[in-house]
Symmetry: C2
Subunit: 291 residues, 2 copies
């Protein structure tokens, strides 16, 4: 079976790489903090000492890295220097659509192939191999990647050419941050009125206000449990992608812009390492809470 | 079985009254536009010529009216003038929580009982007897009403004393309008980027961006089908309830406030009679669309 270099073994990449090893792929992992490779080795994978060492000999290079510069560094460095002709690069990271398009073009110019495949579904989705994956790239490349994508994803949809996956992921992050902000305001409103919050959340979830965010984040908000999950710092980065992509296309999105400010305020208050449900803390501060 | 006066037989009240008749209740309906009673009579109910005529002899009075003044007029008029002692008033309308509390107190002072039971789930929820119902009132009164509520609802939750149902419904309307606005911005953003919209909606629905709003409204937005459903005029009224209830409790809700402005702008543009998914038209106008 194919050899997969998997670079970036964090909260998301770690379980995804282990699922690929479990499905029979020869997975060679690299992570900047090397202790993260241990679980992959236990799951049947191999550990590399460098990104180039992982890429050397691989048929597929999978990336799950924090931000556009990280992906650019690895792709234009280790991957372009080391990958054999025809190698398929599958970028699971969430980065700027224009950067994804540009890297895919550079890869094509060098006889490589690159698709963008950002995911939604969070840590639970990665651990349960139930991710939603938004795939951008050429038909043939996406077809070649599909068996691998189906190992880690439940809803895998080809949404357009290179960069299109990142555009849809930006829309995803816009909706998710907004839904969290609205839920935070609703919870704050209900608390101020002395409502029975668990009962309210139950009945809200049964009607048109129901959402994946409500199902996954409301109880955390009621418990004050803001352990990540998906960190505010990363959602702040993603709201920057939304804003920049909207500006490039000349699109006005007032609600997303306000929500981005609340995410930024959450980070400014020192909550960047908390789960994005910690938007509730910002709404609480707007309502007089002292921390 | 109990005799139920049902006042207000519109898009929501009509099918709810018919479900009660179908379940064996003796339903006496009244509607300001009298032709609406015909379907109830066909379903086994009876028609009254006036609100007082419906209430006369009823054990339970059910109301599904547009706004706080309508409910106040009927309750303090026909119901207080005509209802027999101990009559249970079940108000399905969406009105101000403080008005609901005040009417429940006035009813108690006259030896009557009143609960608030606003619903979510829309026309489809009413027709399929699958509504989410947020119930506020005294325990004994809610227990007496539960068999009737279970006929028209699927998720029936007692959320607190009189008025609490309306408070939770206000939170519901805040979330729903916000989710529609976010979906409208996401669709506009994706259109501007030339994304494959049906594919994008499919994959968004499978991840953390998934919601009842996305499931029920996204296709209507793509089709440009804005037939109600739930009219912008009514959601505008409800955002006023959210704003006033938040102000009374001293609660700051910036995203809800911005969304209320977009709902108001949709109404100002002449789209008040369209479904609330027509928020897309306001976002489109902000992006240069001419109508």
């Amino acid at each position: 079976m194919s050899t997969v270099a998997f670079i970036g073994l964090g909260i998301m990449g770690g379980p995804m790489a282990r699922h690929l090893a479990g499905a029979g792929y020869d997975v060679v992992g690299f992570n900047r903090s090397p202790e993260k490779t241990e679980q992959l080795v236990e799951a049947g994978g191999r550990a590399a000492d460098s990104a180039a060492g992982a890429v050397d000999g691989a048929d597929i290079v999978a990336l799950m890295l924090p931000d556009s510069p990280d992906v650019t560094d690895v792709v234009t460095g280790a991957v372009f220097d080391t990958a054999k002709p025809g190698t398929l690069i599958v970028d699971f990271s969430t980065i700027r659509p224009d950067v994804a398009r540009d890297l895919a073009q550079q890869a094509a110019d060098r006889g490589l192939r690159m698709i963008d495949a950002p995911v939604s579904g969070g840590q639970a989705g990665a651990e349960n191999a139930a991710l939603s994956i938004m795939v951008g790239g050429a038909d043939a490349d996406v077809a070649d990647a599909r068996p691998l994508l189906d190992v880690v994803g439940k809803t895998v949809v080809h949404v357009g050419p290179a960069g299109a996956g990142q555009t849809v992921k930006a829309a995803n992050q816009l909706i998710v941050a907004g839904n969290i902000a609205l839920l935070a305001e609703a919870v704050t409103f209900l608390q101020a009125h002395g409502a029975d919050l668990p009962a309210a959340i139950e009945v809200l979830g049964g009607g048109l206000a129901g959402s994946a965010v409500l199902n996954q984040k409301a109880q955390k908000m009621l418990d004050g449990d803001f352990a990540p999950g998906f960190r505010i710092d990363l959602h702040h980065k993603d709201m920057g992608i939304v804003a920049e992509s909207a500006r490039q296309a000349g699109v006005v999105t007032p609600v997303a812009a306000l929500v981005a400010q609340l995410v930024a305020a959450t980070r400014a208050a020192g909550d960047g390492d908390l789960d994005h449900s910690a938007l509730l803390r910002t709404v609480a501060r707007l309502n007089g809470a002292s921390s």
